[in-house]
Symmetry: C2
Subunit: 339 residues, 2 copies
């Protein structure tokens, strides 16, 4: 690795002069600057990242968590999309482990105290998430991937987020099925009151009601719940079919549940099963599925982080980049229909 | 964030004195040191990570790649294990994208030129992998996760690796089936000549031959190949069953193929299907599977990296830590048998 000393020796100047040429060129004589620039180019010198970070007081590094078991089947694709976006913007991605909120806060402390990172991407946020409080309290820059469902004001300017509109994705899928002649369309969702799960279910429910495919009462009978694993999907689908032998489509909240539903299908049944996430499983089974725009999500996440860091370091102090709405981004997914 | 200047002001000394107390305490008077230490403790000052890296010339940062589609179903678990091990050792993990070898080399250049990272973990290495050549040529510290199958000398001291002994895992699984009365045990592997795939297949083949369960000729008929997706596993298993109606177990090279094999089973068949990777799919379907020791793998990876960095910066120059064998670690997986 070429150092600043190598450049200084090559140009016949002091290391401080080389440093000035890089950081404060106006105070260096043009002829000296030309000498140094020439040496820098010839030797292929790149300023040390640590030195640059120390000087700019910006680490240009985003921290993102990795859980013992992934939150979603597309988490690795989100990480790749973020790494791609970071590469294009000369930003680094640091990975930290997320075993519990408490453990995460400990790491937030270490990462920010050492100046290792200057922004965070949070996924899998819950009601009254203590991480959000901590980050706001400690004036840290962050963006949620996923909406802060527990918050009173989803559009709180202090809590920026990027999310994919799952309700819209499931509604599109349900409309597609109706327009292709399916009438008794069931839904398998997740149990409990998760914002994401309830939101996706609404997409099915509203579309079915709007198209007068079923009454609200009938819809309750066409709906089942299952934990996100294959066997649970299989059992839920078998029970649905027993209760409603005339079902002709099953919209599932995830590709995993859809895989289970496929396993519950009687041989030769003409029942369409659809999933969510466009995983290799769905592709392999040729299931219609919903594709999340992860590259676009990563793009918006990095844009918001940079705007917030800029507004923080800007000398005017004006928060122009934080105009309402721009830092709360809901992206539309698309449906994928195999031939 | 508390800066070195805040500490200096609080202790009534110059910032240089504070710096000396931290980096070169012997040159500071004990009474001054006590003052500064007191201020550091009271204000909660942590030396800036960038400053520390610049001083030590070690970034203590490991780079690891993330592919558009994961190499394996346990990649997120490896990342979590590495992040955990890194956290315990005050090391950072930087994530970079791996779209092509060429693109990786470009990023290697940027990451090392800027001093952002001082070591690499490579996964999914291939025959004549140009990344290995580049890293050796540029005197970079790295460890492979997975053996360098293409290399003439697998125990080349310049190419350290950590791997899981898949052959042993599949052999254990096959022995378990034989000891529980299974006799016609088939195998579904990946097509092609991948080192990992051939190695796992040998585990089944050798165990079957040793136990005289089949002749080499019969084994060829009990073996099928399929790309790593559910539908391919399903077709391969259906074809196997048609060819060998007396099959009583199917050992699969991955949980994905095992999931497909389960789908091909006739209702009520008493045929055991086994997988590899202990994924949530295998757990959900209650399939016997092979569990990779990922925490232990991450531990060995970080240990090897640290030993190699130490030996590089040691003043004696002796390569004590690079004794033969220690930097080529083959870990035994365990089999998981659901009740």
């Amino acid at each position: 690795m070429v150092s600043i000393k190598d450049v200084a020796r090559d140009a016949g100047v002091s290391p401080q002069t080389v440093s000035n040429c890089i950081n404060n060129p106006r105070i260096v004589k043009p002829s000296t600057r030309a000498l140094v620039t020439d040496s820098i180019t010839r030797l292929g010198y790149t300023p040390n990242a640590s030195a640059r970070r120390l000087r700019t007081q910006r680490s240009n590094t985003i921290a993102i968590g990795i859980a013992p078991v992934s939150y979603s089947r597309v988490y690795d694709r989100l990480l790749h999309a973020l790494a791609t976006e970071a590469d294009a913007n000369d930003i680094r991605i640091i990975l930290y482990k997320t075993d519990s909120y408490q453990d995460e806060l400990r790491q937030f402390n270490a990462l920010t105290a050492g100046g290792d990172v200057d922004s965070f991407v949070l996924t899998d946020t819950g009601h009254n998430d203590p991480r959000i409080d901590w980050l706001i309290e400690h004036h840290q820059t962050f963006v949620l991937f996923g909406r802060p469902w527990g918050l009173d004001d989803m559009y709180d300017p202090d809590v920026p987020w990027v999310d994919v509109d799952g309700r819209h994705g499931i509604a599109q899928m349900t409309r597609h099925l109706i327009l292709h002649g399916r009438k008794r369309i069931a839904f398998i969702g997740w149990p409990g009151l998760s914002g994401t799960g309830m939101d996706r279910r609404l997409g099915w429910q509203e579309t079915m009601l709007d198209a007068k495919m079923a009454s609200a009462e009938e819809l309750a009978g066409l709906c089942a719940e299952a934990e996100d694993d294959i066997t649970a999907g299989q059992s839920a689908c078998a029970a649905l079919l027993e209760r409603n032998p005339d079902i002709d489509a099953v919209v599932c909240v995830s590709d995993t549940l859809a895989t289970g539903a496929v396993m519950a299908m009687p041989a030769g049944a003409n029942i369409t099963v659809t999933g969510f996430d466009n995983t290799v499983s769905a592709q392999s089974l040729k299931l219609p599925t919903v594709d999340q725009p992860l590259a676009q999500s990563a793009h918006e996440i990095v844009r918001i982080i940079q705007e917030r860091l800029d507004s923080r370091t800007s000398q005017t102090g004006r928060d122009e980049s934080r105009a309402a709405g721009e830092h709360h981004i809901l992206l539309a997914p698309s449906i994928v229909i195999p031939e």
